[in-house]
């Protein structure tokens, strides 16, 4: 019997559950230097906003045990430039494209959602709520479930029907309530999760290793943290479609997330370490399924015992 790796999100079938994680494969098709992008279940772009952002000063990254902290600062050329120059590069017929976006106020979020919502080539949007709300004195949208629900509702209205996945921050202990609010607001599903606030210090210079003083931790180190939270969301909201993000580096990791309740799995830091990682993992996922006697990968969804 043929091995089925396909999954579905927002009613669309994806060839397989693997996608890029926002910010680790750029805004364009650079990654196609390393493998045909159509091999992916979907492609998620680096975050875009209405206005271009130049990003933070260097140093923007530092390495930690089994992890990576970044404070890139959401550098992007702005939505118009993205749509005009990068979007047309993508083989949107054969590769579902998910565009990650953000704002710094409710209005700029809505504006971004509206611009992207019109574009037919885009399969879905991923709304990053880990950003500070300048109008509310820099309080993070993700920290306030009601504000997050309200924001998501307005953005969905602006997109005129395009599926919107909300990317949650793991930094707030009320993430279950936020999940609940944004799903009630009409989100298509949730991306679990963004990076963890973290820092490192250079003892010689007695200063932080990142220009911003802190950044977001990604990589294998965070997998056990995000895996638990994703499973908690799945337990509370078993119907919700979940896209896992956090520390995936092997086929085993993919299966862990699916067992915990994920419909799809993003590769972030893993692509930075090895740009061919999506096809390497796809291959080893196939072999692992054969060895484990799995013929339909999605049958494993949420099937962890205990």
């Amino acid at each position: 019997m043929a091995l089925k790796l396909n999954t579905s999100l927002a009613g669309q079938t994806l060839k397989n559950p693997l996608m890029t994680a926002s910010g680790t494969s750029g805004h364009s098709t650079l990654l196609s230097n390393y493998f045909p992008l159509e091999k992916l279940g979907a492609f998620v772009t680096k975050g875009v906003s209405s206005n271009a952002k130049i990003g933070n000063k260097p140093p923007r990254i530092c390495e930690t045990p089994s992890g990576l902290i970044n404070c890139i600062g959401l550098e992007n050329p702005g939505i118009k430039f993205f749509i005009d120059n990068y979007l047309p590069q993508f083989p949107s017929e054969t590769l579902p494209l998910i565009v990650n976006f953000f704002g710094n106020s409710v209005d700029t979020y809505i504006k971004a959602a509206a611009s992207l919502g019109q574009i037919e080539e885009i399969f879905a949007l991923e709304l990053n709520i880990s950003c500070p709300n300048v109008q509310k004195g820099g309080i993070l949208f993700g920290s306030d479930p009601i504000a997050a629900g309200d924001l998501v509702e307005k953005c969905i209205k602006a997109t005129q029907g395009k599926p919107v996945f909300v990317k949650l921050s793991p930094a707030f202990s009320n993430f279950l309530e936020t999940a609940n609010q944004v799903m009630q607001a009409g989100a298509a599903g949730l991306t679990c999760f963004n990076t963890y606030p973290a820092t490192d210090i250079d003892i010689q210079s007695k200063s932080f290793k990142l220009s911003l003083g802190k950044g977001g931790l990604s990589g294998p180190a965070i997998l056990p943290l995000s895996l638990l939270k994703l499973h908690e969301i799945h337990t509370h909201f078993p119907e919700v479609e979940l896209i896992a993000s956090g520390g995936v580096n092997t086929a085993e990791d993919i299966i862990k997330y699916i067992l915990a309740g994920a419909n799809a799995v993003q590769l972030g830091t893993s692509i930075l370490i090895n740009p061919t990682s999506p096809i390497v993992l796809l291959d080893s996922l196939k072999n692992l399924c054969l060895k484990m006697g799995i013929n339909n990968l999605m049958n494993l969804k949420g099937k962890v015992k205990g």
Partner: protein, 249 residues
């Protein structure tokens, strides 16, 4: 120029030997002919260990011939220390070639200025195209690659006592060169840029910054441009015309 596309491969180690005080030379076998690699290009290297250290390390290519790549590196921290322990028949994951390169000589040969472990790409350049190389170190590097006459050491333990810019002033006329190429610590590059700004010469700098991917994907390796936005050192560089970048940020 017929630029080679970057390729991710697992490379058998041919040798990995200590060649100086804290310097090693790593030679690996490549799956494809890499004669077209140009001086200034680099690679991302990662031993097949587990997730710590996590990121590959950028190293300049010190020589590229047929199916062999050479690197010269200094053991600085955890990554390069682990690298120095890797011996044949183990393999190393390599992504190469990456980045742009120093321009080949046009009318005259360039002056090549290296600070510390900045010398490998300039050494490659000199071997391939010629040019006058001067290299500065903190202390005697105990390398067998250079004549003492082109070496400066801060502590005077070998060659000229002083830094490479002082050596330059002492032994040659900077105005004789229409092209200068340099690789070394940021502070040296800034001084050199200031020194050259009143001159007519073309100054090319090889820049460094922490890198996660080396391929333009992460936007980690930023340097301010003249236009006040950011270049990515790994794909816009690592070689920049000095007037294009703002080293003061």
């Amino acid at each position: 120029m017929n630029k080679l596309k970057p390729n991710f491969f697992s490379a058998p180690i041919l040798s990995n030997q200590k060649i100086g005080k804290n310097y090693f030379c790593l030679k690996v076998k490549t799956p494809q002919n890499i004669d077209q690699v140009e001086p200034g290009q680099f690679a991302m290297l990662r031993g097949k260990w587990n997730y710590d250290p996590l990121l590959p390390r950028p190293l300049s290519i010190a020589r590229a011939e047929k199916f062999q790549l050479d690197f010269i590196y200094e053991v600085r921290g955890r990554g390069t220390h682990l690298l120095s322990l890797m011996q044949p028949p183990r393999e190393i994951e390599i992504l190469a070639p990456l980045g742009n390169s120093f321009p080949p000589p046009e009318n005259s040969l360039p002056l090549l200025l290296a600070g510390g472990i900045g010398f490998p790409p300039l050494y490659f350049y000199q071997q391939k195209y010629g040019g006058k190389l001067l290299a500065g170190f903190q202390t005697n590097p105990e390398l067998d690659l250079f004549s003492d006459k082109i070496i400066a050491t801060d502590d005077g333990s070998l060659g000229f006592k002083g830094n490479v810019l002082q050596l330059l002033e002492s032994c040659t006329e900077i105005n004789n060169y229409s092209t200068i190429m340099a690789c070394g610590p940021r502070i040296m590059l800034k001084q050199l840029k200031n020194r050259c700004s009143p001159l007519q010469c073309n100054l090319f700098l090889s820049l460094e910054e922490k890198m996660a991917c080396g391929t333009g994907l992460c936007h980690g390796c930023a340097v301010k441009s003249r236009q006040n936005d950011y270049f990515k050192i790994c794909t816009d560089g690592p070689i920049f015309k000095s007037s294009d970048v703002n080293l003061e940020e």
